[in-house]
Amino acid sequence: MSAMVRRTLSMMATLIVDNPVLIKDASLLLRRRLVAAIWLLVGCGLLLLMGGTYLASAPDNLRLWGTLHVPGGEMLTVLTGVLLAAVTFLLPALASTSLTSERESGTLPLLIASGLSPERLVVGKVAGIFTAAAPFFALTLPLFALCSVVLGVDIGDVALAGVGVVVHALTLCCVGVWASAVCDRTRSAALVAVMAALVPSALGAVPVFVSVVSVADDQQRIVVVGVVGLIIELVIGAAAVVGAWSVLAPQRAARAQPGRWLLVATLLGVPVVAAALLLCSGNDNLDVAVGVTLQVSALVVGVVALAPVITGRRLNTPTPARTALLAVIVGAVGLGLSSLGWPERMLESIPVGDVAAFFSVFAAVGGVAAFTGRWLKTPAVAFFLTAGVFIALFAVPAIIDEFVAGDPPLAFLNLAYVVDHANQPPVPTLLFYGALALVTLLCARGARRSA
């Protein structure tokens, strides 16, 4: 038994502690001024936000819908929410350069030929990114301590939120490294990674958003629908335009710079979205109108975006536009399908089981593709992998919530769930994140073989 423990410890040390890639990547990243500046900026912003929240900590100022009653709890929720938002935006983008930059600079063959095992390479990449983010997490420790010591939040809840943030960050690092393993170029990988992190978040936020709208008073509805709704609709509208553009003018779309086409797509999407909102504005049942608009938009995106996938021929050349398009497809289709029951029954009528079953098929295909390295050379396979990750992120937490907690699905990737449901064991969700990180690592390991 002790020999097995020793062997396991030795293996872990080789993989994580004594990992040359971890040492090299972390030291190079920490020495990069841009990375340090970003972490400092976000950290200082967080400190300012928390300070402001503390100064204005009268419960009435922060309580919107009566779900939060304890000032400390509010502080912890804001803290975890901002932390999650920061790492969700930054870590996948940072991690997405990990293997593509090696591939682009030509050092990946050197690493492979040097005898470095795939496990050490991928684990080193994930751990390197995570280590580079460690100073940022260290900045937030006093804030967690503040919640517990000054504001009297239960230490268990604080620890749980901290662990959740760390696991979530680690998962996002895995997602970024996975994207960099399946994409040829850094900008494609960055798009896929950010999409993989953000689209599920947006999807998960929609049911919450709709449920919030359904219980809010008129004034709150105006604020929420006017601001949040517009943002969501803009994203979906932009995705629809990008999808249509890629199908109608693939060469032009492929040549365009990602930033430029996103800008153009957004600008084109604004009138569409504005028109949809105007049409809905006279409706007494604003939440229903929002739901219908979401549903129609999502289905349009899904149908338009699926066309090149079905025809297949246009996927021969991976480009940023198509890669991003692929990343949007599954999310859009999922949104469309899962929102079928929303307008009438809202959250309670989401066909979670059906959606989960439908997506599980994609997940299975993506999983098989991930474990067989030779299939990973085509964008179509990258699509299935992307789909797999989306589905895992989207459907599995819903299943866990439904069957374990007995609750309707809430926003996954939203640790407010963990904090607000402290009376329920969040272990399944955390276990899920752990399993997801493992599967993602294995995917990246398989994809690395095609480097």
Partner: protein, 333 residues
């Protein structure tokens, strides 16, 4: 073929390739390639663009597993035991990739760590590699700020960290200035003297001919020739059975162009026993002789005694370019 025979054959050479075929879709990059490079050889891998040189090197370096056939490097099957094979192989790719932000020593230490050298051995391996490649004065300098020639030397140093028995270099001389090329050539010669087998691909055939003793000629994914350079020269220049390859001499004579001095010299040369061919051009006489230096001496003496003023006698170097064109029938892709 029995397994025992397989093992024996695999151990016979530093590199043994048998029936290797590699396709990319419909395009066949390597077609039934078989060759054997003996231990300690300094072997040139030559061929036109698209001949399959880089594909073959990638397979040898364990970077490409999608091939049919068998490949052994230092007796190790690269597909069955890639990890073990990598410990025997040093690989220098066709361009010199460097991490920005690392100095020369850090760069080498990182790869020594990646190669699995224990902490105690890393520093010694790095110091040895730096010393061998003459990078002592640059050890603390940023690796990304080195000149191209020095970067290439750094990449060779990196490939030597784990003391490989086989070194593979893909176009190492491309883009280097003459001084850097000479340095690299000397480095490879020293390695070969220390018993390391070297396979180097290059387009600069004349330079390879200076220091390589073996050659593999690839064309359109097939091996056109693979042997000692001497043997291939002998074959290409139609040496008689049992003879070494003939010697080509360029003799400069004194006399005005268009005078009968050249005709006179040609006539004398053709009377010398053993002389196979004589071509005159201006004041230069190109003569093909048997391989021995005695024949050369006899020819020069005959010319001088015949009243021809001999200004210089230059033996022609083994010209790999000519050999390549002969072997590939002059077809260049």
């Amino acid at each position: 073929m029995s397994a025992a025979l397989d093992t024996r054959q695999a151990n016979d050479g530093a590199i043994v390739v048998r029936g290797v075929t590699r396709s990319f879709g419909a395009f066949r990059a390597l077609s039934n390639v078989s060759l054997q490079i003996p231990r300690g050889a300094l072997c040139a891998l030559i061929g036109p663009n698209g001949a399959g040189k880089t594909t073959l090197l990638s397979i040898l370096a364990t970077l490409d597993e999608e091939f049919d056939g068998d490949v052994f490097v230092d007796g190790v099957d690269v597909r069955a035991q890639p990890g073990l094979a990598r410990r025997r192989i040093g690989f220098v790719p066709d361009h010199a990739p460097i991490y920005e932000g690392l100095d020369v020593r850090d760069f080498l230490t990182f790869f020594a760590h990646a190669a699995g050298l224990p902490p105690g051995a890393r520093k010694k391996a790095v110091d040895d590699a730096i010393a061998f490649c003459g990078l002592e004065s640059l050890a603390e300098r940023s690796a990304s700020k080195l000149s191209k020639g020095l970067t290439q030397r750094l990449c060779v140093a990196r490939a030597l960290l784990h003391r490989p028995s086989v070194l593979l270099l893909d176009e190492p001389a491309s883009g280097l200035d003459p001084r850097a090329r000479i340095d690299l050539k000397e480095l490879l010669k020293r390695l070969a003297r220390q018993g390391c087998s070297v396979l180097v691909s290059s387009h600069i055939l004349t330079e390879l001919g200076d220091f390589c003793d073996h050659v593999v000629v690839l064309e359109k994914g097939s091996v056109k020739a693979a042997d000692r350079i001497d043997a291939l020269f002998a074959e290409a220049l139609h040496a008689r059975p049992g003879e070494a390859s003939p010697r080509h001499l360029t003799i400069e004579i004194r006399g005005e162009k268009g005078t009968d001095a050249l005709e006179k010299a040609k006539a004398i040369a053709l009377t010398v026993p053993g002389v196979r061919d004589v071509v005159g051009d201006g004041v230069l006489l190109q003569v093909v002789l048997p391989s021995t230096s005695l024949d050369s001496a006899r020819l020069v003496r005959a010319l001088v005694e015949g009243g021809v003023d001999v200004c210089s006698v230059v033996p022609e170097k083994k010209n790999l370019e000519a050999l390549f064109l002969t072997v590939t029938k002059g077809e260049i892709a």
